[in-house]
Amino acid sequence: MADISLSASRRWKKPPLIKSRQLRWGLGLGFAIYLTLAFGTTEIDWGRVAEGVPRGARFLAGFFPPDFVSRWDAIVDGIAESLWMTVISTVVGIALSIPVGLGAARNLAPKPVYYFCRAILAVSRSFQEIIIAIFCVKLFGFGPFAGFVTLSFATIGFYGKLLAEDIEDMDPVQAEAVRATGAGWFQWLNYAVQPQVLPRMIGLGLYRLDINFRESAVVGIVGAGGIGATLTTAFDRYEFDSAAAILLVIIAIVMAVEYTSGYVRKWVQ
């Protein structure tokens, strides 16, 4: 108090986000060290990059104008294949993820089942679609079936985890009330759990449809069918104008799917 009365004006500084001075400086310093190390050990061939600029310009020039015509049949085929793959893998993936998701909800499943299902989810989520696709192509041969298995497996990880989290977040009192009526386990799921999680899960299902379409454009790179295969072929043959056309078609479809799913989600809730 004495300070204040003595000094004519009091200094004020915005209090820092992290209170402890040591931690604050430590974090800053650690970050700086990391950045120097990261840049230091990253081998960037600036000569090659500089060379890349005119190359990139040529590359971009090759994109214009996009050529929809000369590969049109291949594009239509690829897109159609991607769409079928997307639809069936989303349906099958969600169907499979429901039991896994139920098993991975802590408030539903006994411990051993819980750990087992969580392990499935962790494995499915850790690997990018493309890694799974490599193995699927090895097992099932080239073509959309490998893509279908890949996307279904990836859907399990995504959808199962969110379902499990949603079930864990549900209102336990409502669930208890239905249990108290003497309902069986499946009846309990149907009356207490399903109404609480369904609206969000429909939204997420549509979102996953959207993701699966995007991913179907990628799994083709390793031979699992779909528009990705067409795209890789275009790149390999240096037909950049066709590649540009394919990318534009992908963007257009993704936008269409996104708007539709947004609309449907609003309608559901």
Binding site: E81, W84, I88, S126, Q128, I131, F135, A217, V254, M255
Partner: protein
């Protein structure tokens, strides 16, 4: 109304007849689409391979154990590269995403007719094209290596970060902004005092969340030559060195689980 009178007693059905019928119709159409798609895919499938798959899988599994633990010595550099691709890519993406997000948000955009559509187009194209395709193109332009990976991750993440960020900006409490504007603050001051404090938690959360996703994505960029552990994976698969492959897969799981844990901790600390 689902309640109707029939022979003097009130009858209750879950839905009205028309609504129930339309729901059944939706189910029917859905099933038909599914069956149709299934047929098309099945036509392009060589079922012999599919039936053979379980034996193949068993065969592969026996060849993959035990993992070649000694190979880990050659992986440290690749893991480090993978982390760098994800982290540096995320940082670059965030730096670029912030202006894009402010241009795309309805309430902060400087120009609705010109800048906002451009910003939205940037967001959509960045989000629609997978980082692997970005990498494919960048490797052609910049040559193979970590740098192409960083740029690919950055380009891919701009859309994601900018989209979530501009949604957060659009959801802010306008009355707070108004209050700051009422003090006579200039445009940038309004942003700094009225908008930024409100979106800071969302911003931090989005960055960490994207970093977590990017770790996952950077593990595969090497498949098209853009550096990181994917490069080793590709080489081992091509050499049919399955014991190395299984080790790499284990390393990937460990990295991803660890990064997920870190990101969950950080997000928890922020919120």
């Amino acid at each position: 109304m689902p309640v109707s009178e029939r022979a003097g007693t009130k009858v209750w059905q879950r839905r009205e007849r028309g609504k129930q019928l339309s729901i059944w119709a939706c189910y029917l159409v859905g099933t038909a689409i599914f069956v149709y798609c299934w047929n098309l895919v099945s036509e392009k499938t060589i079922w012999m391979f599919v039936w053979d798959a379980p034996t193949q899988a068993g065969d592969l599994a026996t060849r993959m154990v035990p993992p070649d633990w000694a190979y880990i010595d050659k992986l440290w550099k690749a893991i480090w590269d993978t982390l760098n691709i994800a982290t540096l890519g995320t940082i670059m993406a965030i730096v670029m995403a912030v202006p894009v997000a402010f241009c795309a948000a309805r309430n902060t955009t400087p120009s609705r007719t010109v800048l906002r559509p451009i910003a939205l187009f940037i967001i959509v194209s960045s989000r629609s094209i997978n980082s692997l395709i970005w990498a494919l193109m960048l490797v052609t332009i910049l040559g193979p290596g970590v740098f192409a990976g960083i740029i690919a991750i950055a380009l891919r993440s701009i859309g994601f970060c900018a989209k979530l960020l501009y949604e957060a900006i659009e959801e802010i409490d306008e009355s707070q902004v108004e209050a700051v504007r009422a003090t006579g603050a200039s445009g940038p001051q309004v942003l700094a005092y009225g908008v930024v404090p409100q979106i800071m938690p969302a911003f931090a959360g989005i960055s960490v969340f994207r970093w977590d996703i990017n770790i996952r994505e950077s593990t595969v960029l090497g498949l098209v030559g853009a550096g990181g552990i994917g490069l080793q994976l590709n080489a081992s698969i091509n050499n049919l060195a399955w014991t190395q492959v299984s080790l790499i897969l284990l390393v990937i799981i460990a990295t991803v689980v660890l990064s997920e844990w870190v990101s969950a901790r950080i997000r928890h600390a922020i919120i």
